[in-house]
Symmetry: C2
Subunit: 335 residues, 2 copies
DNA sequence: CTGAAAGCGCTTACAG
DNA sequence: CTGAAAGCGCTTACAG
C-alpha cells in the first residue's frame, strides 16, 4: 500500500538502515555519481524501491543549491504569438521536472525589470529564459545579472554573446516560394503586411531568394499594408484588376491569404487550379475544427521555439549567437 | 553597489549581527508574525535594507516546508482553449511569486497520471491545479492523493466536495440574448454547434431562458451541426431560404457567426441594420490586428478562469462545488 | 519580548 | 569503496 498522501515519511536514513550502509553511501548510491561498488548500489536501490523512497525535493535543493526552477521573464505574455512560446517552454520544463517562475511585464521598463531580476535571484533559479514579443525589438541584455545560464527567445538581445532563439522568417519565405515552384507555378505575386515590419522584410527576402535561384521573378508589384483579412481582400482585388498574369500568390500571413481567398471565391477563380495561395502562421492550426482548413501555410513553429529555448538552459549550452528555428510547411487545399 | 550576480552572500545571521539581536529574533522580526517590539522590528528591518538582505528561498522552503511551487496537471495543454487557462494560471502564480510545475498528459490515462501524482508529491508542491480541456468531460478526482489544496479548472470533477471552476455557458447564452433584446430585436434565430456538445446545450438553455423572461420565442428551428465557418454559412443560407422573418441571429460560436456574416455580405443583407449577429468566444480578440473586428461576441474569459482557479490555491479556500466565471460582452460592429 | 538550540533531510568534501 | 561529520540558511517550539 503506497503512502496515499505522499507525506514522504520515508527518509534516506531509513533506506540506508535497511540497506545496512551509511547515509552518505546511500546518497551516493542513489545519485549514481561517485564510485560505488555495484553490489552496494544494487542493495541501496532495492531498499529504496521496497520502501518507496522519494527524496524530499526541498532538502535536495537546499543541500545541492539547485532549485529545479527556471525563471521566465516575459514581455507581455498574453500576446497572441508570445503565448505558444511560453506554453512550449513551460511544457518542456515540466517534462524535465523543472518548475517555472514567470514574471510578466514590460521588459523595457527598467524599474519593474530590476525588481523582477532581484526576486528571481533570491529564488535561486537555475536558469533564466527571456521571452520577447516577436523579433521586432531588441531586448536589453540581463545576462550579466545572473550567475546561471540565460537564454533569449522571440527577441534579439543587445549583447552579442547571448544565446538567442528566433523564428526564421527568411526560411518561411523560401519555403513558401519553393513550394509554389514545386507545384509548377512561375507567375507568383506577393501580398504582405506593413513595409516597416521586420517579418515582412525577411519573408520577402527569403521569397525573392528562392525565386531567384530558380530564375524566376515575382510578378506585379509587392503590395504591402496591413496584416488583416480586409487588406488581403483589397490587395488581391488590386492585383487581379491590374490584369497581372498570375498563377500563385505568396501572402505574408494567413489573414491576408484568407482575404485573398475570399476575393477568388467571389469572382469564381478556382483555388488552387487557377491561382494557388500560401500564407504564414498556420493560423488555422489553432482553430477548433481541423477539418475546415482552407489554406496551405508555413508554420513558424513558435511552440517548438519555446521548447528549444527552454531546453538550452538544461543540457549543454549552445553556442552564443542567434539560433533560428526551422518553419514547416503545412499542406492545405489552397496549393 | 548592489550584488550584481545576486549570489546572496548576505545571510540572516549578518542582519542579526548588525541589528544586535539573535538569529531567531531577526527571523521573527522580518517574518512579521510573532510578537516583537516595534523598536526591534524596525532595527532589524533597517539592517536588512541596508545590507540588501534577500532571504535564500531554498533555505526558507526547506525550513518552512513550503516550496512556493504549485503543481499543474493539464489534459493536453496545447488545446486551443486550454492554453489561455494555463497562461492565466501561470501568470497569476508568477505574480504571487509562486513557481509552476506543469505535468501535461492525458488525465484519463491512469498509469501516467499516477506517475505525475508521485512526482508532484515528491516536489512538495503547495497546491495542485487540474486543468481539463473544456467542460465536456468529468475528471477523476485526485484530491485524496494530496495533503495540499487541489482545485479543478475547465473540467468537472467526479467528487462533489472538490473545488471546481468552469466557464458559464448558460450565462453566455443569456448575455447574448439580453444584448440582442436590448437592441430592440425580437425575431431572433439560433445557429449552433453539434447537439451533443454540452456547451451547445448550455448556451441554448441560457438563450431560451433570457428570451422567455422577455416573452420572446426563438424564430425558426435551432440549426445544430458543426463549429466551423462553413457550417455557419450553410446554416445561415438555410435560415434565409426558409423565409423566416429574422432580425437577429445568436451564433453558437464566432466561426459560425463569421460564416453567417459571409452569407449576409454576399446577399447584400446589412449587418446589423437588417440582421444583427452575435457569437461566442471572442475569437477575434486573439487576432493580431484589433481594428479588423467584425463581430459582437461573448467572451468566456478563460484566462480569468485560469487566474481565479490558481488564486483559489493561495488565499482562503473557496467553498466546495462548482464556481462559474462570468462571461463578458464584447461589442463589435455586428449588433 | 528575546535568545539558545534543535531541526528541516539531504549533499559533499574529507579521512580512512 | 565506505563512513563520520559538517554544512546548506533558514524556522520554530521551547525556555527564560
Amino acid at each position: 500500500m503506497l503512502d496515499p498522501m505522499g507525506s514522504g515519511q520515508v527518509r534516506l536514513s531509513d533506506v540506508a538502515a535497511v540497506a545496512g550502509v551509511s547515509l552518505s553511501t546511500a546518497s551516493k548510491a542513489l545519485s549514481g555519481s561517485t564510485r560505488i561498488s555495484l553490489a552496494t548500489r544494487e542493495r541501496v536501490r532495492a531498499a529504496a524501491t521496497r520502501l518507496d523512497f522519494r527524496p524530499d525535493a526541498l532538502a535536495q535543493s537546499f543541500a545541492s543549491g539547485r532549485s529545479r526552477t527556471i525563471g521566465v521573464l516575459t514581455h507581455r505574455a498574453t500576446n497572441t504569438f508570445s503565448q505558444p512560446v511560453l506554453i512550449g517552454a513551460v511544457l518542456l520544463l515540466g517534462e524535465q521536472d523543472q518548475a517555472t517562475l514567470v514574471h510578466d511585464g514590460d521588459v523595457a521598463v527598467h524599474r519593474r525589470l530590476g525588481q523582477s531580476v532581484r526576486e528571481l535571484q533570491a529564488r535561486r533559479i537555475d536558469g533564466l529564459l527571456v521571452i520577447g514579443d516577436g523579433h521586432e525589438q531588441v531586448t536589453a541584455s540581463v545576462t550579466h545579472h545572473f550567475a546561471v545560464p540565460v537564454s533569449y527567445a522571440f527577441t534579439a538581445s543587445d549583447a552579442e554573446e547571448d544565446v538567442v532563439f528566433l523564428p526564421d522568417n527568411e526560411a518561411a519565405g523560401r519555403i513558401a516560394a519553393e513550394h509554389l515552384l514545386s507545384r509548377g507555378r512561375r507567375r507568383i505575386a506577393h501580398l504582405t503586411g506593413p513595409r516597416q515590419s521586420l517579418a515582412v522584410q525577411l519573408r520577402e527576402t527569403g521569397f525573392r531568394e528562392a525565386l531567384g535561384s530558380a530564375g524566376v521573378h515575382p510578378v506585379g508589384p509587392v503590395l504591402r499594408s496591413h496584416w488583416g483579412r480586409p487588406w488581403g481582400a483589397e490587395a488581391m482585388t488590386r492585383l487581379l484588376d491590374s490584369g497581372t498574369d498570375v498563377d500563385a500568390v505568396f501572402c505574408g500571413n494567413d489573414h491576408i491569404a484568407l482575404g485573398a481567398l475570399d476575393v477568388c471565391t467571389r469572382r469564381g477563380i478556382s483555388v488552387p487550379d487557377d491561382i494557388a495561395l500560401i500564407g504564414v502562421d498556420n493560423w488555422e492550426g489553432v482553430v477548433v475544427d481541423q477539418n475546415i482548413r482552407q489554406l496551405t501555410t508555413v508554420d513558424l513553429e513558435l511552440m517548438a521555439l519555446g521548447r528549444r529555448a527552454a531546453a538550452s538552459l538544461l543540457g549543454e549550452r549552445p553556442t552564443p549567437g542567434q539560433h533560428r528555428s526551422p518553419p514547416t510547411l503545412v499542406q492545405g487545399p489552397s496549393t
